[in-house]
Symmetry: C2
Subunit: 317 residues, 2 copies
């Protein structure tokens, strides 16, 4: 199968009115008067970001999810995406599943696939997705916008993806039941896009937790030139991992990556509004601490024990 | 060197007023009232799109050039770009040269690098660039817009990149002088962006010649449901390759890829305007044939010999 047949068969579903989809040199997005364009790109490399034997349906989902998560972290509404795909061979079963997983999530969040590039490769699979979104100018949630006194919030739960990865890598003892419960969090993350798009006006700073909670919160306090005080007991530990050893749980929750949930800061006066919004969009939110004027990043238990973590998160090299 | 240091050192040059560059979850583009957003993405894979020993300065240039070429093919003006880069190792000399080549071209065409993603890989180098541009809504040059009676135009010259590739692959006899003359066309293509951005209103259909002139013109006539009559003698054969055998020249000109010049169609009444525009933007243009109501794609010499070509262009798998 040639490149054009492959695109025609797997990546040419209709695009909404106002878009130009695959088939020309570029794709076109509709005019959005008064909205600013938001952009993010993420590459997934076989052996680094996914295991070769991963289910292509979940891989298609995740390729887009990690990018939607970046849009959510800005408080942006998705507009569309493009996909570059390098494949060592044309495996129709794989392509059918991969594209299905990708399109399902794209449909769920009105983020049409409008273009891309496919190529062969002598190496492993490479997937690069670029997403576009829109915000009212001046309202994007920046890492640098946290203010002293802000609450720190986290959506969803922490730690499950990290435990699933450890199990798949054999770094934790074999446990089918635990793997079954945690694996969807690793392979099919669901970023809180709808909730996040309503945060501008309520929240100050936000980012998505991809490299680990501590490292990512560290980005906020560095960019905002402030400190943070986190209550470990208030962190949303995923129920599936609560029975593991304290040390394992702490590492998973504080430094486990691949979460694709949000950490955001907001002034205390918006607590009720945020709780209401979370209910409306079926998004779990936890208030886990507060932004301080300085003093770095402190994590304590409710009874005053300081929690430390050797591994500060994921480094990409 | 970690990911953040790498980005800080090589990919964090200032962005223009109104943009948000690298450092947050997404990049922001300025609001452009009344303009529609145009998008394209292209991946370059080591071993497929470039040889491992290629000069990183020219590779940085080419990574962006092939994408700018897609914007030019829509008649769009560049707005910015993002870069995803997977590297098997952090080679500071390579990164310094690659980023310099990339930024030089980005500066030349006011296409700021505003974000990206860097990751390690266990495979070869992978480069994925996504470019954004803007057009007045409804004026983008589509492949499907050619009309019977249109002139067919080509910018720049044809064939040199193909000959350079053959020489580098050892498929043509060693010839240092010929390689020196043709190699820049392969490794440092310069798409006619400024000229192309003025074509809406004058031209009907356009695309960039990346897969070979015949195959690419074939895309236009298929999408526009028309035919084409091309005079081989009017095709702009690159001066550097004119002394090669007739067969070699024909293959290079008709089916050689990696050209990144435009093929566009326009009504004869705009001939003078197009010539004037070409002079203004120092762009070579050649009028090479005309669009017909049907009858497929016919290439003839001035004395009426039909020219055929076995190899119809590049297939990506």
């Amino acid at each position: 199968m040639g490149e054009f047949d492959l695109i025609a068969r797997y990546f040419s579903r209709p695009v909404p009115e106002g878009y130009l989809g695959a088939g020309d040199d570029c794709a076109l997005l509709p005019l959005r008067p008064g909205r600013q364009c938001v952009v993010s790109t993420d590459a997934l490399i076989e052996g680094r970001h996914f295991l070769p034997e991963v289910d292509p349906l979940t891989l298609g989902h995740k390729s887009l999810a990690v990018n939607l998560s970046d849009l959510a972290a800005m408080g942006a509404t998705p507009s569309g995406c493009v996909l570059a795909l390098a494949l060592p061979e044309v495996d129709e079963g794989w392509l059918s599943q991969f594209s299905e997983g990708f399109y399902r999530l794209a449909n769920e969040f009105d983020c049409p696939l409008i273009g891309g590039d496919t190529t062969g490769t002598d190496h492993g699979i490479m997937i690069c997705v670029t997403v576009f979104g829109h915000v009212t100018p001046g309202t994007a949630l920046l890492r640098s916008a946290a203010q002293s006194g802000d609450d720190i919030w986290v959506t969803g739960s922490l730690g499950a993806a990290h435990i699933a990865l450890k199990l798949l890598q054999g770094a934790l003892p074999h446990n089918d039941s635990l793997l079954a419960k945690t694996r969807p969090m690793l392979e099919q993350p669901c970023p809180p896009c709808l909730f996040a798009a309503q945060l501008p006006g309520l929240a100050h700073a936000a980012l998505d937790i991809s490299d680990g909670f501590l490292q990512d919160l560290g980005h906020i306090i560095k960019a905002s030139q402030c400190g943070a005080h986190v209550i470990f007991d208030h962190l949303p530990i995923d129920p599936a991992i609560r029975n593991l050893s304290e040390e394992t749980v702490q590492e998973a929750v504080l430094s486990g990556g691949d979460v694709y949930q949000l950490c955001f800061t907001a002034p205390p006066k918006h607590r009720d509004a945020i709780e209401t919004l979370a209910q409306q969009f079926h998004t779990e939110v936890s208030r886990v601490g507060s932004i301080t004027g300085g003093g770095g990043l402190l994590v304590e238990t409710l009874d005053g024990r300081r929690v430390t973590c050797a591994n500060m998160g994921y480094q990409h090299f």
